[in-house]
């Protein structure tokens, strides 16, 4: 088949809703875009362990502590599923990790904000995992098989993340005035960065049209953001918390919540490296990589010794 016929065949398969598998022919640009997207997603899971990990030793009860440990461990697992999906496209995992450690790779801007109080852990589960679920439920139908399968596995695990977060939020919101104030403060700080997680407006999102045409994204950034807002407003009302947006109001005509404009200057600043914690996050990842070196070396030495003994 010549290139034009291959592209035609590929686009026909996408249009028919077929799943593209690693050994199938695909346009180079499809491979590149997917590798970029999946590796950024993997990095986000791994860096995402840090803000919450910071509270494991300070969780208020044993129940909260085992929950948080399990959740952070899940996020590490999500990173692994995704690095493996990226590798099926021919990407080299050590190269992807080198790019992250060198500060050359992007990851979700949300993880560059600090976790200042215990209430942040609740709000992250509620907002950040909640937003991730909206995005990932769509990606579970992506046209690339390994990505879609990783997303299905991840979505099954995310529901616990969101629910445990909301349980913390509801408990604090129904607690003492000081506890209520603490969780309201966390809501105020995390609301806007959570809305930014969906990315730029459709009109300003250069990759969107292509990703949509190739069946990788089936909904636009703005559609997903709206879905998240519509889902979250009644949840906030149910536990007596307000969202920090004076423009927020229900639109009966569309049955949607209208919300104010995002501070895009902040979004671009944080994603390009100048958020409150970007340097700290990267340093933590570099330290983890260096401090884990002896473990990897020991595992290799042991594997080599076993091999020698078998050969002898």
């Amino acid at each position: 088949m010549d290139e034009t016929a291959q592209i035609e065949n590929f686009e026909r398969r996408i249009a028919a809703g077929e799943s593209i598998e690693p050994k199938d022919w695909m346009p180079e640009r499809f491979r590149k875009q997917l590798t970029r997207m999946i590796s950024q997603h993997a990095h986000s899971e791994i860096v995402g362990m840090l803000p919450e990990g910071a509270w494991i030793t300070r969780a208020p009860t044993l129940r909260r502590k085992i929950t948080l440990l399990a959740k952070v461990q899940d996020e590490g697992g999500h990173g692994l599923y995704l690095y493996c999906a990226a590798e099926t496209l021919g990407a080299d995992r050590s190269e992807l990790i080198d790019q992250l450690l060198a500060g050359k790779a992007k990851y979700s801007s949300i993880f560059n904000y600090p976790t200042l109080s215990w209430a942040d852990i609740g709000v992250i589960g509620w907002f950040v995992d909640g937003a991730a679920i909206v995005n990932q439920t769509m990606l579970a139908k992506a046209s690339y098989g390994p990505y879609s399968r990783a997303m299905i596995r991840i979505c099954k695990e995310e529901n616990f993340h969101k629910k445990q977060g909301f349980e913390i939020v509801a408990t604090l919101a129904a607690g003492t005035p000081a506890q209520h104030a603490m969780v309201q403060d966390a809501v105020n700080r995390w609301w806007w960065p959570s809305l930014m997680m969906f990315g730029p407006h459709d009109a300003d999102s250069p990759n969107s049209a292509e990703l949509k045409r190739w069946g990788i994204k089936r909904r636009s950034n703005d559609e997903l953001r709206q879905r998240f807002v519509d889902m979250t407003v009644p949840q906030a009302q149910a536990v007596n918390l307000t969202l920090p947006d004076p423009e927020l109001r229900y639109n009966a005509a569309t049955d949607q919540w209208h919300f104010g404009e995002i501070n895009w200057e902040e979004f671009h600043r944080v994603i390009n490296g100048d958020g409150p914690c970007n340097k700290e996050r990267l340093q933590a990842r570099r330290d983890a990589h260096e401090n884990g070196r002896w473990v990897r070396e020991a595992a290799e030495a042991y594997a080599a010794k076993q091999q020698r003994m078998q050969a002898a």
């Binding site: 199938d24 399990a70 596995r153 290799e300 594997a303």
Partner: protein, 103 residues
């Protein structure tokens, strides 16, 4: 090959393993994903941590990815189409006189 010396810097990726997981006993093993590990024992242990965190698993297989031979969808026509025309391999193809049961 003195692979040991060459890779003994903790930055090797290690071989890739494909992981197959069996849910409840009696079910078939199905592909769960993949991971890197220096040897089979660690591949199994990592597979346990990565692919059975919610329990419900009764067995895990790990297979070196390089040893898997896969068909390619480009050859699906040659591989599988011959079977599509063999309707007589299905029970529904055969007519049974009215009233005859348990066939």
């Amino acid at each position: 090959m003195s692979k040991t010396e060459a890779t003994l810097n903790g930055d090797s990726q290690w071989p890739l393993w494909e992981v197959f997981v069996q849910g409840p006993e009696g079910e078939p093993h199905s592909h769960a994903g993949s991971l890197h590990a220096p040897d089979a024992a660690l591949a199994l242990q990592n597979a346990r941590d990565v692919y059975s965190r919610r329990g419900g698993v009764s067995s895990i297989w790990v297979v070196p990815a390089k040893d898997i031979i896969a068909s390619s969808s480009a050859e699906n026509g040659l591989m599988f189409e011959p079977m599509d025309s063999k309707v007589y391999r299905h029970a529904q193809f055969y007519k049974v006189p009215r009233g005859v049961k348990n066939l």
